[in-house]
């Protein structure tokens, strides 16, 4: 048994299968950051830090002529989001039902994805992650007809810095819907943006404020996974089982010029 303690849950193999499938289905559309940055790992739950390959000098009075330096690492963050599943629903899975209600799991999947997207796109000061949106090249606004112009300027900034495309534009759900529903001189704004992005994509990214334009060329940003997102067991009572979604990761920007933010 591992730390997820799934074997202790009053959940059959058939129900676990449905829970895992639902979690995967719900998470995948929301995990926009994984469509932009490089993902390495998973290295396992016992993997604790990313090697930065750097050292810092240590002043040690008793060291004499010895040179003392300390290796620098970026510790991984653990994320755990609980959710509950009604035991009646789990019993139905054992009777062959395949349309179980997993409302709280859907909410938890959204929460995990928002947290991961925010960490990647906007950074996370408390844990030492710098995000893609550290610099801004303009304001996005709400007038979608101006988006192609604003995004073209952002792409120009990246090109001027020698950053190759194609490029992605990550934008929150409201902005994405606005773009998807808009036309410009009879042309879908979404199609126009697609061309401006050099064949790249406009991503619906829950958790993103404003928008972020970033290169899809590899080697600029690294999301390092300790444990990829997994479903674990916490506890249960007569009515419900409490489970959780859990992952561990670090995030680094290797090339700050490869992304730029567009504020709201």
């Amino acid at each position: 048994m591992n730390h997820l303690t799934r074997e202790l849950a009053p959940i059959s193999a058939a129900a676990w299968k449905q829970i895992d499938e639902e979690a995967r289905e719900r998470l995948t559309p929301h995990l926009a950051a994984r469509r932009v940055v490089d993902v390495t790992g998973p290295h396992g739950w016992d993997y604790s830090a990313t090697n930065l390959g750097r050292v810092r000098p240590v002043n040690h009075a008793g060291a004499g002529i010895a040179l003392v330096r300390q290796r620098q690492v970026l510790p991984l963050v653990e994320v755990r989001v609980p959710f509950t599943v009604a035991r009646d629903e789990l019993d139905s899975a054992d009777r062959g039902a395949t349309d179980l209600a997993f409302d709280d799991l859907d909410r938890a999947a959204h929460d995990v994805a928002v947290l991961e997207n925010k960490a990647v796109f906007h950074g996370w000061d408390e844990v030492g992650f710098t995000g893609l949106a550290a610099t801004s090249t303009g304001a996005l606004g709400t007038d979608t007809e101006s988006y192609p112009h604003v995004v073209a300027k952002a792409v120009d900034v990246l090109r001027e810095a020698g950053i190759k495309g194609p490029y992605a534009m990550a934008i929150g759900p409201l902005g994405h819907r606005r773009i998807a529903e808009s036309t410009e001189h009879g042309l879908m704004v979404l199609d126009h943006l697609h061309r401006i992005l050099g064949g790249g994509t406009v991503l619906r990214a829950p958790g993103v404020d404003g928008a972020v334009v970033a290169s899809l060329d590899g080697g600029h940003f690294v999301l390092e996974l300790g444990q990829d997102i997994a479903v674990g067991y916490s506890h249960h009572d007569a009515d419900a089982v409490t489970l959780y979604l859990e992952e561990s990761f670090s995030f680094r920007v290797l090339e700050p010029d490869a992304a730029t933010a567009l504020t709201e």
Partner: protein
């Protein structure tokens, strides 16, 4: 004694003869009389191999991962052909095209399996084990005769191999949902 590798080869020979028999027929009723049992056994045979043969190949084979990935992918192609044929009137052009796809996928699969997976297994499994598995293979086919109680949906080859490698202790267990990168290549 029912050596599983011989039983698999027996099925292969039967498949070849039944597909050949279809070549001589035009009447839909006669075609259905040959195709019905053939389609059923294609599904049952694939499932029996996935349940009994390939898990042991993964435990003992010299190059089991590539052989198994190939085989499960082929099984899916065969299942797709069988499923497509079931949706079309027997003898129609659509039905013939679907049967052709199943036949082509099956012919490729049998050749690769005989040259690679089965040969690998013969080198690495003793006669007792092959007989034990043969008994299980026959029992599985009897239990699911005519695809009774059988899930004939496609199987993800990568997941199948990972799952069997974990069971065989050849892979450290990754309990995650394995979403990983979603970046398009």
């Amino acid at each position: 004694m029912p050596d599983i590798t011989s039983l698999i080869l027996d099925d292969h020979e039967w498949f070849r003869r039944q597909f050949a028999a279809l070549d001589d027929l035009d009447d839909p009723q006669e075609l259905a009389a040959v195709w019905g049992p053939l389609a059923d056994l294609l599904d049952v045979h694939a499932a029996a191999e996935e349940e009994i043969f390939y898990p042991e190949l993964i435990r003992r084979g010299d190059d089991p991962e590539a052989e198994t990935l190939d085989a499960i992918g082929d099984h899916n192609d065969i299942r797709d052909g069988v499923r497509d044929a079931a949706r079309a009137p027997v003898g129609s052009a659509e039905w013939r095209a679907a049967v052709r796809r199943a036949r082509t996928a099956n012919s490729e699969h049998m050749a690769e399996e005989e040259d690679d997976g089965i040969a690998d297994f013969r080198r690495n499994a003793d006669a007792d084990l092959r007989d034990q598995l043969g008994h299980r293979f026959l029992a599985f086919k009897a239990e699911h005769k005519g695809t009774r109680g059988l899930d004939t949906s496609d199987v993800d080859p990568r997941r199948y191999v990972e799952q069997r490698e974990m069971e065989a202790g050849r892979l450290s267990v990754d309990p995650s949902l394995r979403i990983g990168s979603l970046k398009e290549e």
